[in-house]
Symmetry: D2
């Protein structure tokens, strides 16, 4: 999880869902090139989004591709029953995602756990890697003895630039070249653009991971172009900036009062006139010079990151191996 990577990734992926909402509100008509399915199961809201073409891409400002968002506010509560239900949905959604993306049932998979093992809110990728069922070596060493219902899956945690000295994307490229998977699944913790997404949301997208541009940036992505094989990214927002909290909250305050027929111009003065971007810029201007635009994570992140890592690993295990039952996905992880 790096600041540049994440904010960029966010801009492209996180807001796919919201981009559609905003665009729909403006036009009140179906958007061209955009397909959206939403459903809710007792506190679990799932949105499947397909940006089908350039028209759709321009309409909402997102890359062409498939996106899934699983939103579960209750994930913050550490309830194991909810967790099991999310794992089951994750498994089904991921299976469907693979089908629609025409990924073959025998396709060889490399799971890449991005992030830093030693930074709890950034340890999601490594935790998922620890808990997925790995089978590639059985196919390599004793191909005739592998039980039916499994496919070759491998899994690595490439570390982060600051501790390896090598870009994760370079490490992954090297491993892909050697181990020749048909598909890469990359898991990463994300910086959230909104307070309500933190520790509540799983995002899946087939557009890969694009590090930030600008600042003479030389960093490479984990994308089909870079690796030569398709890349599905799974992300969970686990951190956010103090400025995001402030800006979101002012919005919530404004909505709250508007709902109560408050005169927001009177109460919030010019703050109420600013666009969201202007206000965020103002907030940052105040916090950053004194070092207070902290990147923060919920206090109970240790427990959350273990739980969500297990949910994603369980979901992947069931989605990738037919022999693992999606109704009992949690049994294969610790």
């Amino acid at each position: 999880m790096s600041q540049l990577d994440l904010s960029a990734y966010q801009v492209r992926t996180d807001l796919a869902l919201e981009a559609v909402e905003m665009a729909t509100e403006l036009t009140a008509a179906p958007l061209p090139g955009i397909e959206r399915e939403m459903f809710e199961d007792n506190g679990i809201l799932i949105t499947r989004l397909h940006v089908q073409d350039q028209a759709g891409s321009q309409a909402i400002g997102k890359m062409v591709g498939r996106y899934i968002t699983i939103e579960v506010p209750q994930l913050r509560n550490g309830d194991t029953t909810v967790q099991d239900r999310v794992a089951t949905h994750m498994a089904k959604e991921f299976e469907l995602f693979l089908q629609r993306s025409n990924i073959n049932k025998d396709a060889k998979i490399l799971i890449v756990g991005l992030g830093n093992w030693n930074v709890t809110p950034d340890a999601l990728g490594p935790i998922v890697v620890e808990n997925v069922v790995v089978t590639r070596h059985f196919f390599e060493l004793m191909p005739n003895d592998v039980a039916p219902g499994y496919r070759p899956v491998s899994a690595v945690s490439p570390g982060v630039l600051g501790t390896t000295g090598i870009e994760s994307s370079e490490i992954v490229k090297g491993i892909v070249d050697q181990s020749k998977p048909d598909l890469v699944i990359a898991i990463d913790a994300l910086a959230s653009k909104s307070i309500e997404r933190v520790n509540t949301t799983i995002q899946i997208a087939d557009t890969g991971i694009h590090p930030g541009s600008g600042i003479g940036n030389k960093r490479k992505g984990i994308t089909q172009e870079a690796l030569g094989v398709p890349v599905i990214a799974i992300g969970v927002p686990t951190v956010l900036y103090a400025s995001t909290i402030v800006n979101n909250t002012i919005d919530l305050m404004r909505n709250h009062l508007a709902n109560h027929n408050g005169d927001n111009d009177k109460i919030f003065g010019l703050l109420n006139q600013m666009s969201e971007d202007e206000r965020l810029t103002f907030v940052k201007e105040v916090l950053e010079p004194v070092g207070h635009n902290l990147l923060v994570t919920p206090k109970d992140i240790d427990e959350f990151i273990e739980d969500i890592g297990n949910i994603i690993a369980s979901g992947l295990n069931a989605a990738l191996h037919e022999a693992i039952d999606s109704s009992n996905v949690a049994a294969y992880t610790h």
Copy 2:
């Protein structure tokens, strides 16, 4: 670290320093019953406060007692040179604190590491306990063989109510009754009342730890009354509420504009008229019903908590044992 405990502890201890500042501003005269020394050493600001009597206590609304605050904004940067300097100051301050509190050089000490080992921002106490030099058993088992310059020090981590089922204060009381120390030093991570205190401040006070009152509260304190021996509390704010971030930031925004000759009434509307408490209540009203008044901690808490734990352990080792040199305090911890 528990919410009730912390907020209460904060109200009493965290603000000792600020309470003086506020009271001083109002009167522009020395406060009766309050003694204050402050000095700064290249980014390390140390304030020694003595609330000498009821007059002083009433003037600033704090318990009678001694308070030290070590403020180091650079502690957020993970710079080992700064950390070593802070450990050395911590050692000197703590030694002076013991002297002024008339704690004997041979006094037997029990160090109590409050908090939850498995919750990183709450693990400060247990980490300090892991890194202090423990000697009591040598005095018990082979009293004639202990080298000069040491005193009997023991150290325990009593756990938290949610995982033990027993109040920390009861556990500590039992251990005190059995092991009979002359002084208890209790270390705890705290919830911060301000964004600028998080991961920057060490607080020392001889008033003990007082859990929150209200809500039919039956919880007991870790105090001289409860334990029968003096209690020195060492605290570090490591978490804060989203509402604190928002409220602090609005203040910072107002100060920022006031400094730039802005018309705050125009810009902030009625927000500018509210008292800090009213604004905080408003912010909470908006965030709490939707579950967004998150208790958060900086993303790099894993590294910070290790570092500050070592600083405090190093400081205690040098302050408690003459044989450990305060100029090289860091060598005795991992």
Copy 3:
């Protein structure tokens, strides 16, 4: 886990089972004052032993009391199906043990996890404590709201003398005095007297934990005499001395050849004439002066200690709370 404690504990508890076997072989008649039940369930061998009186105690050289041994050689393999079966047996045996010891269904329990969190083979006690369902605080804070089928259970890890400076027994005594349980259950990792017991065996006894005598030993036990309430000890051998491995293996070699009609006197020379004790003394004489009588543990101890800790915690959860089903005991631990 300390050397003195363990060897003593071993001599008294570990060999209860073997003491009976040896005594029975000699007499070929039922031993007076000894009751023994054994049964095997597909690789899980359970022995219930009751030393009823002084006659029985003298016959086998063990304290009067109840002993259970659960032996599962397959525990070394990390098979989760076997682990679940052992947890279920553990629950049933422990429930029966409580009944026969006349422990009331409402008896308040304190679980004590002895050992050192930072030494993997000694971390059994703390791991069990982390995974038991703790309820005492609910009974204290809201006695009318506790669901039926639970009893008050608390759990603490007192640490070890070397890191706290206080005897575990003193810490436990203090906590017992304050929290007033009706029964203490103490869990500890043990040094094994035989290679076949390491990482295969769970032992339960109601005779408490007796540290070693001799060497001017001042250490206190965790016993009914010391604490004023009954103590049930649960132990798992996780380490053993190099000398034990050597001595055991020479025995296995002798048995192996005897079974193949070998002339053991010819093959083993005088080694074959020595008593087991003489041989062990000889082995130690050779290894100890050069520092090679290492205390060792199996290489995969990290995984084993987690697994066995979960088994014991699961078993205790089901045995102590009627509301937790012994057929699904594993669900309540991580």
Copy 4:
């Protein structure tokens, strides 16, 4: 650390030193093609061995190459003073080793930490990787701003086959192809062939890591042939088989009695006549069928592996970067 790899690695590397000793004893003359330097510094024994050509290789049955062994029996005691001295020697020896191997001062280095993070005695490689100073990214991203006295160093932990599904050698090959170092330094925990080497010895060799042959073995090495760049291997024996302990001890017993003029044929019978290999085979025959040929590690492995990991990381930091002073090498690791 895998059994096959290790035993093979051991046969080739571990015994270089002993092979010379045995060969020297036989001939009592300098061996052709073998250069050996030994010196001792207060409990630290260092042997530099150079197998110069095929004649030397055949004389001692080791590959042509350079070998260093640092033997420190006191490493088992956890003494920090000894550890610092070993780190300083390690730094000097490694620097000399690089010089004699004609590795350029600017050569780009990739440090590879083999082994399994979650298996304590196998975690040496990952721990070293965590503690080395990594600089390659500075050279890549801002080549003009790197302070003098550093060279490009990167570091990765490729994981183990059982958890990644990919051979470590394949992962390393991929990373080498992408990041193009001039030299690979591979660190691994080893299985010891003798009880006295466990947790006492650091071995350095420029012959790479050769996994075992036999059993239709398809596993690839981490060698110059495989990677295209030179490979220096650093190994520390941290585990050993029960059978090794037994066989070593019987030898120690025989030597002990021989030194005391014992009649070993009388005392040990035919055991005394067997060759070491025959006796080991016998021991294994007895232990393996009953599952008792345990692979074990000293009980205090958690502390040892941290300490030795820091020693090696400190030594590498000082040896690889001129700016890091070999007299104060420990300051750069945690």
